[in-house]
Amino acid sequence: MTSPVPGALASPAARVRGEPGVALAALAVLALLLTFVVWPVVKVLAISLQGPAGMTLAHFADFFGSWRLFGILLNSLAVSAVSTVLTVAIALVLAYAVTRTDIPGKRFVSLMSLLPLISPPFLVSLAFILLFGRNGVVTRALGLSWSIYGFEGIVVSQVFTFLPPAYILLANVLGNIDTSLEEAAENLGAGALTTLRRVTLSLARPGLASAALIVFILCMTDFGNPILIGGRYNVLATEIYAQVIGMSNFAAGATMSVVLIVPCLIAYAINTYWVGSKSYVTVSAGARTALRPTAPAVRWPLFAAAMGVALFIGVIYGLIPLGSFVRLWGSDWSLSLVHYTFKSTAEGAWPIWNSVKLALVSGIVGTLVALVTAYIVERKRPPARRVIEGLALLPAALPGTVIGVGYILAFNVPPLLLTGTLWILVTSVVFWKFPVAVLAAINTLKQIDPAIEEAAVSLGASSLRTFVRVVLPLLTGTAFSIFVYFFINGMVTVSAVIFLIYPGFNLGSVAILNQVENGYPGVACALGTIILAIVIGAVLLLRALMGGERVAILKV
């Protein structure tokens, strides 16, 4: 941004002092973030350090002293490391194929890679169970005694669950590389491999690091896949759930939460403060992005790889509806609608409607709070701006399970007695998923010329009036994208809300887990299919109402 920020010369404090409304809004946002991001984490930390006789490190000594518990941390790290390497490697091949070569079918690859973004995070596991589980198609057909539960299952499920964010990030990085750079290398005598290594990949290195760190955090904090397909292979996220919900052992749960947060925060800090400063801006004036024909020896293998992955994602998501219409997966292949009667559960289809309710409320509340936060951070720049921004983005490093444990601990006493109400679910979705939404709004604001607002102010409009009449209309597209983002998360998220649901208010995503655990994969598939249909339907509906591309699907 080259244009100056309004009132750039005045000090932050002076700018806000002139506008009590802005100061109030900034304080309100800060209070919300302190309450719903900081306080739960503080509570978790406090419980982990609290013994019968004041502060103690005994819980941590227990954890690191027990080979079983310490092993769970190693399990988490091992599974995340392997998943990360595989995910980033596959994402790199896909992104390279789509952005740097002229393979056909690029749109299909991009579309398929978006699917996991809008679905419950563990549908991939469910599909793998349908394929390779004890009653899986493949397992049965080959008469295997092996099944996918455990380490391998978690890894393959995580790879296909977290491929989209890695792919989107890398496609962005690779797609922005000026083709003249590669041509310059070629012109200077470099062969294809030298160019790839010394120029293209060298430029993508910060992007690769970033993708790896983000995927690592996602894998460490992943709850849905390990709980469905992990079998006896425990990881921290699921063990926390077992300790807290299974054994009501909050101290152990909180201790493990702290242990889980540490590597996530480290990865987050490296990505934000170190990798972020390393990225190269390669698009310059007169840069070309037109592609030349790719050599067939490169083109067709890449095409095959990209199509293979895209088709496999298609199959994975195709299995869910298929599984919902088959009477008994693995033995009775006749088609039926029996799973849609939800006879296996007393709740029937209610959890789905609860999810819709949660998604709608989260969408509205989240969008409002995110827009106001972004506007204050980006445009009003109050004294505590860095703090507000830092806190707004921090949840990106927080595991959903930790949010869940923290919310139970923080909001079960007056005056903030939220447990057992819709609001504890809404705030957990909104503030856990806050970073992506705020960043999207900040980025849009950065593209709006501040002179437009200055013009309104110079014509005598107040800050509030300027925001409502001038800025908001320019943000409509982003606002709806943010709404969609919160809506989707309200529909599909599981790891935080599974701690917070209360009797009579189950959610669709959690119900899927229950059904799998109770041995009704068909009903789980039916629930998954309905959730997918609602999410896709909502996106398409909003797009139709708002006009196409203005409603985007936000990425992690």
Partner: protein, 370 residues
């Protein structure tokens, strides 16, 4: 150093023809400038010489040897991209050394050659910097040093100065020309800046719609444009659509005014374009016309000061005519006042009209000025 021969080269992108049957011969050590409007195919032509685009038909040859099937990395051509395309992950020295490393030169020779190139392009002290720590002009020089390090026989430059501001542009084009002449390297220099082309090139090829409209030495192109497009594109010119009254007597008619010019080979009644450069028009005092000069009467509409000269837009028969006057005469003109202009018959260049007529996108007096 090599001679470049393009023979009937055509390149299509889908239905669009970017370069259309273009032929051009570039002598060893010569600097030829390709000029023309946006999208006329300059870059595409350059990329075919570099090997990044393959001609659909026609032949690209170096020293008489067809190179259509030679990949870019084997052509021995150095190229400077418009965006410079410096590798952001490498220092200046590493950028310059890149081609030598790829060619597996011994490390000592690489260091020596990088030193030479750094000296040649005045980059001393910058060796360890990264591209984003250099000014635009310095980046441009690194790009040139990198392109020349491998001793290519041909140098290609695609609008090398377009991203720089006016003063640096003037200085760098002098430097590029000097280096080019010292090395005697065959060079193709793409620009859309006709003034740059006039000042730097041995010969200019004016392109339009994928074809070459005229090739020649700068002074030829300027003094004797063969088409109204060239007359309009190179320098600025008044293009008067006129009708031949008598070819033998050298008489034409424009907007009811009789004018004289050389009309060899024209037919009576033919419609032509008379091109008159603004600096060839002079202000004359009232009174009896000087013998043999063409006279135009008009009203001064716009006066633009351009340092040493003053450019007037004069309405003659309601049509704008541009006139450049020495600064000393500027006090004698005023807006909305009548003015009397004259030019010698030999200063009007007669251009036969084409079916497609003059380009309407003509420059206004204040545009395209030095």
């Amino acid at each position: 150093m090599a001679r470049i021969t393009l023979t009937g080269v055509t390149r299509r992108f889908g239905a669009a023809v970017a370069v259309d049957g273009l032929s051009l011969d570039i002598a060893q050590g010569e600097l030829v400038s390709l000029v023309g409007g946006s999208g006329c195919g300059k870059t595409t032509t350059l990329r075919m010489i570099a090997g990044f685009e393959r001609p659909d038909t026609g032949e690209v040859a170096f020293d008489g040897r067809a190179v259509n099937d030679v990949p870019p990395r084997k052509r021995g051509v150095g190229i400077v991209f418009q965006s410079y395309a410096l590798f952001p992950t490498m220092t200046v020295a590493e950028n310059v050394a890149f081609g030598l490393r790829v060619a597996r030169w011994p490390e000592a020779k690489i260091r020596e050659r990088v030193g030479e190139m750094v000296a040649l392009t005045n980059l001393g002290g910058m060796e360890q910097r990264y591209a984003n720590q250099l000014s635009g002009g310095q980046q441009q020089r690194v790009a040139l040093a990198r392109a020349l390090a491998r001793r290519p026989t041909i140098l290609l430059l695609d609008e090398p100065l377009s991203a720089l501001d006016a003063k640096i542009r003037l200085r760098l084009r002098g430097e590029i020309r000097k280096i080019q002449q010292d090395l005697g390297i065959t060079t193709v220099y793409v620009t859309h800046d006709q003034e740059e082309a006039l000042s730097i090139a041995d010969r200019i090829a004016v392109m339009r719609d994928g074809r070459i409209e005229q090739v020649g030495r700068p002074e030829e192109i300027y003094a004797a444009p063969r088409t109204d497009f060239v007359a309009d594109f190179i320098g600025i010119s008044n293009l008067l659509p006129a009708r031949v009254v008598s070819a033998a007597a050298g008489e034409l008619e424009w907007e009811g005014t009789r004018l004289r010019a050389r009309l060899d080979g024209r037919r009576d009644g033919e419609v032509v374009t008379l091109s008159v450069r603004p600096e060839k028009l002079a202000m004359v005092p009232d009174g009896p016309p000087a013998a043999g000069l063409n006279r135009l009467e008009g009203i001064v509409e716009v006066i633009t000061f351009l340092g040493p000269i003053v450019r007037l837009e004069v309405a003659v028969h309601g049509r704008p005519v541009w006139v450049d006057l020495p600064h000393a005469q500027s006090h004698a003109v005023a807006r909305k006042k009548p003015i009397l202009l004259a030019f010698a018959p030999e200063d009007g260049v007669v251009i036969p009209s084409r079916a497609d007529g003059p380009r309407t996108e003509a420059a206004s007096p204040s545009r395209r000025t030095p």
